[in-house]
């Protein structure tokens, strides 16, 4: 099992969610996050005053999937979240040791 974390542009969330649902992803956790990478923040000027936007708003999607569909999930995410411009975000893949569904106590793949 793998945990997939993707940081994407906020307006791409719906697209990404729909695409993931279409390939059978059952659940995900979505968080509003802020940060910066190569795309730095910027300063805007209004009426002579500067307003700094140093951390850029992004959306983080987290989901756990069985190993066999990891490539499909990643490909889907890449396609859905891409604009081709800077700041499209990143995808991280992490190994997961165990998953437990609290209500039933199921473990492993069944608990995803």
């Amino acid at each position: 099992m793998k945990k997939i974390e993707a940081i994407i542009k906020p307006f791409k969330l719906d697209e990404a969610k729909n695409a993931l649902t279409k390939i059978g992803v059952q659940g995900m956790t979505v968080t509003e996050v802020k940060g910066f990478g190569r795309q730095r923040g910027h300063t805007e000027v209004y009426r002579g005053a500067e307003y700094k936007i140093d951390f850029l708003p992004k959306v983080k999607i987290e989901l756990i999937t069985p190993d066999d569909i990891v490539p499909q999930v990643i490909e889907t995410l890449e396609r859905a979240a891409k604009t081709g411009k800077i700041g499209d975000g990143k995808i991280f893949i992490l190994p997961v040791e165990e998953v437990i569904r609290i209500r039933t106590g199921e473990r492993g793949k069944d608990a995803i």
Binding site: K9, F11, E44, Y46, A49, P57
Partner: protein, 856 residues
Amino acid sequence: MQFDLGITRNGLKDVKNRMAQGTVTSLSPRELLRHYSDMVDGLVRKAFQKAQSSVPSPSICLMAVGGYGRTEVAPYSDVDLLLLHSPADQSDLSPLVEKILYPLWDLGLEVGCSSRSIAECVKMAQSDLQIKTSLIDARYLDGEYEFFRNLYDLFSKRVLHRKVRKFAESLAQDLYLRRRKYEDPAYVLEPNIKEGEGGLRDFQIGRWAVRAKYKTDRWDSILFPDHSRILDKSLQFLWAVRNQLHLLSGRRQDDLTFEWQEKIAPILGFSPGARGIEEMMRQYHLSAQKISNFAWDILERVLYEPSSLKRTFLFFQKKKIDPNFGLTRGELTLLDPMTFKREPAQLMTLFQHCQVSHGKMDFRTEEAVMEALPFIDDRFRRKDEVNQIFLKILRRGEGATAILKKMHELGFLSCYIPEFSEIEGKVHYDLYHVHPIDIHSILAVEELEKLRRGVYQRDYPLLTSLIQELEKPEILLLTALLHDIGKGTEGDHSIIGAEIVRQIGSRMGLPKEDRDLIGFLVSHHLFMLETAFRRDLNDEQTVFNFANTVKNLTQLRMLYLLTFADVRAVGPEAWTSWKDSLLTELFLKTAHLLETGENTQVSQKENETVKRLTEYLHLKGIPEYTEHLPVRYLSCYGWGEMVHHIEMALSLEQESLLVRWTLESGRLAKVTLCTKDSYGLFSKIAGSMFLNRLNILEAQIHTWGNGVALDTFYVEDATEEVERRLHHFKRDVEEILNGKITVKDLFPKRGESKPNQQKIIPGVVAEVKVNNRDSDFYTIIEITGEDRLGLLYEITQALTDHGCNISFSRISTLGNRIVDVFYVQDEWGEKLEAKQKVDNLKQTLLSRLTPPNNIS
């Protein structure tokens, strides 16, 4: 061995359930409580008598206290008993207590029992609020009646009617502490029917205060009849809900959670599904509000009502503010009770006085307001004086929310704006919207007031400065109050709401421009949120479209402020710095575009064009296609041309490149080229034209939102063979775009292009300006220089070499001078901002502007 009380645990359950069914058909909720209490009385008495006969016991009195004392026992409420013994009696009562309690416990009753002497009771009641309040409701059950009477007399004399103000203070403290505890929005969605704001405890607090102060148990006797009737209805409703809650859950459940809301709503006769739940919760909130107001009102009266001696003294201190109102120690008083009946408009004046003098009205004046509500009619609502004062209250800002809250509490607001009553207490059945819509709307006004007062100066400096720029802040506040007014009706609440506010506006006599403004803001109050969260703010088109709808800076500012107020009023967690950043970015980019940017406004004539275009696209079945068309494009062509262009773009599915031309003469032609945009496209086209000796006089390069490149050129061929050359050009550009060949490959074959024999004419100074100021999305490069064949190719090639993606361009030739403007981005879709990059680019461009063989 335990006694048999003549009923089993399950038997008792059955009785409860039968009673519950009775509530739906014949019994009122209060009667159910009463019936149930009577039944418990029977059981308790039986247990008491059996216990007394089985263990030797001294003379003693059995009393019901607390809610049980009031005969208000919900199916799983606690049953609190008090055993009163004589002070001399030192015998151990625990065997007796056990004998009483065990059989009751076995029936599943939650019984608690304490045993005290009269003196102990009185002493404890003096120091312990809970014991005191439980004794207020004490009721004799069995045993020595004399004991009960003694306690009652002593308690009334020494405790209940003494230090009434202090008692009221501790009740107020209790009220306040519970409010703090339950102010979490979660409790608004899933209220605690007993302890929560406006819950049953609040009502008791009001009742106890009445009892202590006025020595009567008829709480309704001090209110005017309409008021007490409404209050009683509210109370009955809460009881009805609580009874069901207990019966369904089978325990003392007082949290009205979603789970139970769903089950109870249909039982109480609300419509099925989510709508019924919303209706029930609406009634819940309306009821709770009434009860909460009652508790505070009574406490205020007790706390602030002066003694008769003091009243005479204050009478002389009274300051007259105008012929109708006086002010005493910060309290507004109506001088003549007939005023409102004679002159209803004075109602609004009263509220204005409250705001200006920072005072509150005394409770008699409040009652007078409530009594005068039936006099508010359409004449009142249309009266200029009334409306002007209302707007002034909003405009003044300071304390405007407090006044609105008071108007709302007294029922005045929904009489003055009857449309408002449609959203009173109405809830959304979801987790996001915490408050009922009426409260949410008033909270939105409060957010704006705070912004105006500078409370958010540190956190939101931009919004703070924006609200201070407003010419008519009252219009924004009024909009905030009414922005969700459409939610009382089915359908799109923004559209419906806009219609309603226009009507309200015209009733209030607002000028047309203000009505239009409010209508616009209400119909678009979700537009900024949707754009900021769902659209690409790095795409100029997004901001263009947004700016086009918002139209001007005033509307933009107001929309941003309204969005802020709306989201913040949803609940404390709804507004995050994350949302803030996106909204700020959209605001700033749009403001920039509207203020300093080029003409984003589609003019009247262009509007006509766009309208016809939209009609055409509708016929074609692709109404949303205009979305792709940039404003810069729309302002350049007529309708017929655009239709032609769109047809070309649509046939790109079959062909990858379309080139059409019309000949203006033997040497001049207008060329339209349509293909999918790609990096360096313009330089490939310019190169192909140059290879075919076509001189570009004018050109416009557009990239549409859907990636279509649509370019038009005026080209000239000095040798009058323009048509033949265009055929060649088309073939070349096709091959180049297919990647079969490059422009450079073709150069040697066709030979170096030699400039035409140059006449001696005044030279043109070459200049390259790189402007990063005027657009948030593009670096704008302006180039002037002396024209020559192939120059455009060299310039565009230089731009391509430096990683510039050309999104829009306008090429013109004035005599021998070229004036070219390019809107470019780097390969990441960003502006070119690094100084070194800009300098390098400038240098290259300048060197291309100076022909290598320029010997003069």
